[in-house]
Every structure is written in structure tokens, then in C-alpha cells.
């Protein structure tokens, strides 16, 4: 196909507005798939980022930082106090202590603007109190709830005994962050927008790889059937009839039930279902091409049968096969989603669109619609766009349908 032919083809393609829109949408989805890691605000595969506190948040809610607990041992020795952090993990907050008078010790939190839920000081000696605090009924523990000043002042009647070790525990309030879940979160606290973008990536990948592998396999078998004829033709085409007679989803279910789940296994299932369409199409077009005189001419030029099939016959069958490929990408995506929805497709940790719809399905009646609806809309738009694109390509390839 040269440039003028391509321009003519593009002009005829553009006569259908819906085809142009679906081409744009398909390209958009492919861009989303390729650049998902750059576009997605979070990495939905990184399970350490998930917080159950974010689970099932509706559209537009902000991510909350959970409250933090800080512990520190405070050793009081005469007029000085030394602080030793005792938290098992590093923390944002830190505890400071300083004397505030002869019989007074101030325990505070850095940074001073942190919002605290409580500040507790343990192991106070008898006679010492925390200003404004309440004492534990039994233990020598004093607690300040929602302290405004983030500071506990310990006062006692006499000097604090030398070698006294106090334990201070500060708990901060949940804190809003600037991060917004634009499409809400699922039941694991996963950002739906990121999950959908990565889901598009998986769906497009499965669609392209599975439909592509089925195209290569099916076309090869179809060409073989057309070329050899006779027994090879009969065997291959009866296998095609057999595959076409079985419901695609049932075959996929059976294969994945045996093999287990995973991207490569879903691709294999789709290939096993779809190769038959390509084989049938490739065989019928190859037979009609084989009857043309240029094939006899190639035979007369003593070219090898493999070369005649691959270099002369196959390129003349390719337009129809490419149309089928476009339509079958959509079918592969919808099959992968169906299998994932049924729970045999992809693992939970790497959700595809079908998996996301399935995981939201149990919450849809408790008004948590966003988990299923948004991936559903994306899947619908993607499949409709690719089908319209394939339909238009088919119409352009069929002179009888084209005007």
C-alpha cells in the first residue's frame, strides 16, 4: 500500500464520524495502557501502601494519615531530663522534655502544631500530678485527652526523686492529606483511579497479546488447510467446527479451572478459543486466492510452496484477517473480564477491569456503587470503541457494503 492508497483509505475511513471517535478512544486507551505507571496517582500493586482505613471511601474523599503512637523514656536527674525514644518504628512525632521550675517537668511533642489525641505519662511518683490530667484508677498513669498545648506539666510537692524514669506516650489524631481519591477506593483501600488505569493496561495487554497469538496460530493453520487440502484440511476444519460449537466462556472456564489463574493462562485460554475464527477466515480467503492465476504463475516460476503461501497468498488475505483481529481484541478483552469476574482469570493482587467489577459487586447494594460502576463504564466504552473500529474496517474492506 503506497501513500496515495493510504490517503484514500484514511479519507474513506473518516467518512464515518463514529469510526473516527472510536479510533480516538481506542488510541486514548492504548496511551492509558502504555503510560499507566506515569498517569496513575498510586501504584495499586504495591500492597504496603494500602491502608484498611481508606477502604470503601466514596468518590472525592481525601486520604487520611492514621494516628501515630510515640513512646519515649524520660530520665529525670536533679535539674535535667534526658529523653530516649522507645518506639519500635521511626515516627514523625518526637517527644521532648524540659524542666519548668524547681518541682516541675514539662513533657511536650515536636512539632508543636501536631494534633494529639492523647498524651500519657506513666510511672509518676506518689505526690506528683499532671496538670489538667486524669489518673488511671489503679496505675500511676496520667492522661491528657485532646491537649490544646501539646504539653503536659508534671508538678509535685517535693523535688522529683533522682534517677526517676518516666514513660511518655503520645497519640496523634488522624490527619488529612492533600491526596484525593478521585474515583473512591475499593474494599482494600486501593485508589480506584489507579486500579482502573492499571486494569486498562492489563486488559489491553491481554487483548493484544491473546488476539495476536490467536491470529498467528489460526492463520497458519488456515493457510495449511487451504494449501494441503484433503485430510489436513478436513482435520483442521473439523477441529474448527468443534471449537465453534463450544461456548467460548465455558471453554475458558474449563481451561483456567485446570491451569489455575494468571495473565499467561488467560492469554492461553483466549488463544484456544479464538484461533478457530482466524483459521476459518484465512482458509476461505486463501482458497479463493489460490485459484487466481498469479499463484499458478508463482508455481510456474518454481517458487517453493512455503514462499507462495507466505509471500503471495498471505498478504492478499491480510486485510480480512486484520479486520478480524480488531474485532477479536474486543472479544478477548471482554472474555478476560468475564473470566476475571467469575474469579478464575487474574489474581486479586493484579486486578483487571473484570476483577474490579467483581470485587465491587458485593458492595453495590450497600450504595458503594463506585467500585463496580467506573470500571464497568471504562470496559463498556473500550469494547464499544474497538467493535465500531473493527466494523468500519470491515465495511471498508467489503466493496459491496461500501457505498
Amino acid at each position: 500500500m503506497n501513500i496515495a492508497d493510504f490517503q484514500d483509505f484514511a479519507r474513506r475511513f473518516a467518512e464515518s464520524r463514529s469510526a473516527v471517535i472510536s479510533l480516538a478512544v481506542s488510541v486514548l486507551f492504548i496511551v492509558c495502557a502504555v503510560f499507566a505507571p506515569l498517569l496513575a496517582p498510586t501504584d495499586p500493586y504495591d500492597l504496603t501502601q494500602l491502608q484498611l482505613s481508606d477502604a470503601l471511601k466514596p468518590t472525592g474523599s481525601k486520604r487520611m494519615l492514621p494516628g501515630e503512637e510515640v513512646r519515649a523514656n524520660i530520665r529525670v536527674d536533679g535539674g535535667t531530663a534526658s529523653v530516649q525514644p522507645a518506639s519500635p518504628t521511626p515516627t514523625r512525632l518526637s517527644i521532648v522534655a524540659s524542666p519548668c521550675g524547681p518541682n516541675c517537668l514539662a513533657v511536650g511533642v515536636e512539632p508543636p502544631d501536631a494534633k494529639l489525641a492523647s498524651l500519657q505519662v506513666r510511672n509518676l511518683p506518689a505526690g506528683a500530678t499532671v496538670e489538667g490530667g486524669r489518673k488511671h484508677p489503679i496505675q500511676p498513669w496520667w492522661t491528657l485527652d485532646n491537649p490544646d498545648s501539646n504539653q503536659a506539666r508534671i508538678t509535685s510537692a517535693g523535688p522529683l526523686p533522682a534517677g526517676l524514669t518516666l514513660l511518655a506516650i503520645a497519640k496523634s489524631l488522624e490527619q488529612e492529606t492533600g491526596f484525593v481519591f478521585r474515583l473512591g477506593t475499593d474494599n482494600f483501600g486501593r485508589d480506584m483511579l489507579s486500579a482502573i488505569l492499571y486494569g486498562i493496561r492489563i486488559s489491553v495487554y491481554v487483548g493484544l497479546v491473546a488476539a495476536g497469538a490467536a491470529m498467528v496460530l489460526g492463520t497458519a493453520l488456515g493457510l495449511l488447510a487451504a494449501w494441503r487440502g484433503g485430510v489436513a484440511d478436513a482435520v483442521i476444519m473439523r477441529a474448527v467446527d468443534f471449537m465453534l460449537g463450544l461456548p467460548a466462556l465455558l471453554v475458558g472456564l474449563a481451561i483456567l479451572a485446570i491451569l489455575g489463574n494468571g495473565v499467561s493462562k488467560v492469554v492461553l485460554a483466549v488463544v484456544i478459543v479464538q484461533w478457530s475464527y482466524y483459521a476459518r477466515t484465512a482458509r476461505s480467503f486463501a482458497i479463493s486466492e489460490l485459484g487466481k492465476e498469479y499463484v499458478e504463475a508463482a508455481r510456474c516460476l518454481r517458487l517453493s510452496p512455503v514462499r507462495i503461501m507466505l509471500r503471495h497468498v498471505l498478504p492478499n488475505c491480510m486485510p480480512q484477517i486484520i479486520v478480524l483481529f480488531t474485532l477479536n481484541i474486543a472479544a478477548a478483552i471482554s472474555m478476560e473480564s468475564s473470566l476475571s469476574f467469575l474469579g478464575v482469570g487474574l489474581p486479586l493482587t493484579r486486578p483487571s477491569l473484570g476483577m474490579l467489577i467483581a470485587s465491587g459487586y458485593e458492595f453495590i447494594f450497600s450504595q458503594k456503587y463506585w467500585i463496580s460502576i467506573y470500571p464497568g463504564i471504562v470496559l463498556l466504552v473500550m469494547i464499544v470503541a474497538m467493535n465500531l473500529l473493527g466494523d468500519r474496517l470491515r465495511d471498508l474492506n467489503n466493496p459491496r457494503l461500501d457505498r
Partner: protein
């Protein structure tokens, strides 16, 4: 007479109609219906001398094209033998480089060219693959061949649909010439062209023949073209050769009733009004040909034994053979 470049002895080709592995299996066990067999070419024996042009003429459906494909070696025979320079085709076709010496020009100038390939590839592909020219020099070689058939050098980068019918047929001829053939089979090579273009292509073929001494088998239903181009003519009817003679002799004194009727049907430029006499009856179905002489239902001089005995091709004059029981040498 020269050593024959090609000879065919009792060449036959039949096609089984409506055959499939399953039906064959069923027939094998049930002995029910015999599959219908179409004998497209039936015991044809011809020879072609070095540098000679043999015309094969006949109505549509008489097996001309099947004969062309048998001679070109792109269709296997059912029985009989084909020899090229004395060598049987079975061993010749195994050596691809030598099998290239037999080339063919096809009827439909469009469908005989692969629409996806440029003319340069169409013409040069086999020559490069079989080592006729080194890959580095193929472009110049193709341009040279195209010049020989009267096509400009810039045709190399163009696709078949960008040419007119006559130019496409020139590409088809260039493709055959590119592998340096010694025998060229033209299967209705001008039938699909306008009359003016036909003349150009015929002149081109005659020029090529004069320059290279190519032996040619020219298949046509057009007696005028055959008369213009051929040294000898074979007339075919329903898969059999019914008359074979030198062109001048055949047109001057045809002996077989079928040939005579064909020649009478040929348009002539003459002043006097002439009554047009079509051949009586339709051509019978090749699936169920008449017994004996295939021509007897339409023959004005048929007798009873024409319905029973199959006439063999026999020599009635030196170099003039026919297959008729009733007409002897005159």
C-alpha cells in the same frame, strides 16, 4: 525436422467432481455411487520442435487451458508422459533451475499479477531466488527485461493496478522472460485484450520469438490469431486432438468436419454476402461425453460406427493428422 524440445505421449488429466475424503471413504465401503470423473484432457500426443510455434485451438471447455497447465508442469498428469528435451517431467521438476526453462503467460492480465507486489518484485523475484541474476544486479536486469517488452524503467516501482491491460500483459511476459525460458506457453494470452492491444502483444511475442528462437505453444480460441502466429495447429474437441497440421495446410484444406465448421464460422473480409452457418447443436457436457467419436451428435457425416468406435489420430498426409473415421486422405 529438428529434435523435439517437448513431447507428450497419451497425456490425460481427469478431475473428480465433488470429491472429499469422507465421500471417498463412504464410496469405499458402500460401493454406491461412483464419483463423477471429468476427462479434461484425453490421450493427447503432441510434439514441439525447437523454435517452433504450435497453436492449440478449440471452443471453450475443450481442455485447452488444462493442457497448457500440464505442459507447464504446474498440474500433475493422470496418465501419460511429458518429456522436455528427452527428459521426463518427474525428474525435471525436481531440479527447479531447469524446470524454469518452461514458462507460461496467462489469460487474465490482472489476476495473473499479484496485486500486493511491485512490478520490480514480480519480474525479479524468481530470477533472484533461482540465481539467474545476483541480487545486487537485479534492478538493472529487471529494467532491461522491461525495456525488451516495451515498458518504461519507472514501471519497476509501480503496482499492477496502475497499468492498462496491455501493459499488464507485457509485465506477465516480462516475468516469464526474466528466468530465461526455452519454451513459452501462452494460454489465451491476448483473449482479454482490445483488438488494437492484441495486435501489439502479438507483435511483441513474434519479436521475442524472432530474437530468441523460443519454442512456443500458443493456446487460443481465435483462429485469426493462430493463423498469424503459428507454424502448426492442433484442433481440440472435448479433451481430444481431432486434427493436427501445418497452419497453411489446415487453413487451406481442413479435413476433419469439426475443423471445417470452425473455419467456416471464422469472419472473413470479403465483398460478397455470406450465409453464416453456426455449428449445429451445443457442445456436449464434458462430464458425460458422447460415446465413440465425441463429435458425432453435431457431425453432418456421422455414421453408426462413429457412435461406437473412438477414432484415433492418424496421419493422412505427411505432417497432417486427423481423427475421423469417415474421411480418408484426399
Amino acid at each position: 525436422m529438428n529434435e523435439p524440445i517437448f513431447e507428450a505421449n497419451d497425456l490425460s488429466r481427469s478431475f473428480t467432481v465433488g470429491s472429499s475424503p469422507f465421500r471417498d471413504l463412504a464410496n469405499h465401503f458402500l460401493h454406491d455411487r461412483q464419483p463423477t470423473v471429468l476427462r479434461a484432457v484425453d490421450n493427447v500426443s503432441i510434439t514441439l520442435a525447437e523454435g517452433e510455434t504450435l497453436g492449440v485451438v478449440g471452443e471453450s471447455g475443450c481442455g485447452k487451458s488444462t493442457l497448457a497447465r500440464l505442459i507447464a508442469g504446474i498440474l500433475p498428469v493422470s496418465s501419460g508422459e511429458r518429456r522436455f528435451r528427452g527428459e521426463a517431467y518427474e525428474s525435471l521438476l525436481a531440479r527447479k533451475r531447469d524446470a524454469l526453462k518452461i514458462q507460461m503467460v496467462f489469460q487474465d492480465p490482472l489476476s495473473s499479477l499479484n496485486p500486493r507486489l511491485r512490478v520490480g518484485e514480480i519480474v525479479g523475484e524468481a530470477a533472484v531466488l533461482h540465481g539467474v541474476v545476483p541480487r545486487a544486479k537485479v534492478k538493472d536486469y529487471v529494467v532491461e527485461i522491461l525495456a525488451r517488452v516495451g515498458l518504461p524503467a519507472d514501471s519497476v516501482g509501480r503496482y499492477p493496478h496502475q497499468f492498462s491491460g496491455g501493459q499488464r500483459q507485457r509485465v506477465g511476459i516480462a516475468r516469464a522472460l526474466a528466468v530465461k525460458p526455452q519454451m513459452l506457453i501462452c494460454d489465451e494470452a491476448v483473449a482479454a485484450l482490445d483488438v488494437s492491444v492484441q495486435a501489439q502483444i502479438i507483435n511483441l511475442l513474434m519479436d521475442i520469438k524472432r530474437d530468441s528462437g523460443l519454442a512456443m505453444i500458443f493456446i487460443s480460441h481465435d483462429l485469426g490469431v493462430i493463423r498469424h502466429l503459428c507454424d502448426r495447429v492442433a484442433v481440440m474437441y472435448l479433451g481430444r486432438v481431432v486434427e493436427l497440421a501445418k497452419t497453411s495446410e489446415l487453413f487451406a484444406s481442413p479435413t476433419h468436419p469439426y475443423t471445417r465448421m470452425l473455419l467456416e464460422g471464422m469472419p472473413k473480409i470479403s465483398m460478397q454476402r455470406r450465409k453464416f452457418m453456426p455449428i449445429q447443436g451445443e457442445i456436449p457436457s464434458p462430464l458425460n461425453p458422447p460415446a465413440g467419436c465425441h463429435f458425432h451428435p453435431r457431425c453432418p457425416i456421422a455414421t453408426d460406427h462413429c457412435r461406437e468406435i473412438r477414432p484415433e489420430l492418424r496421419e493422412i498426409k505427411p505432417g497432417h493428422m486427423h481423427a475421423c473415421l469417415n474421411i480418408e486422405a484426399r
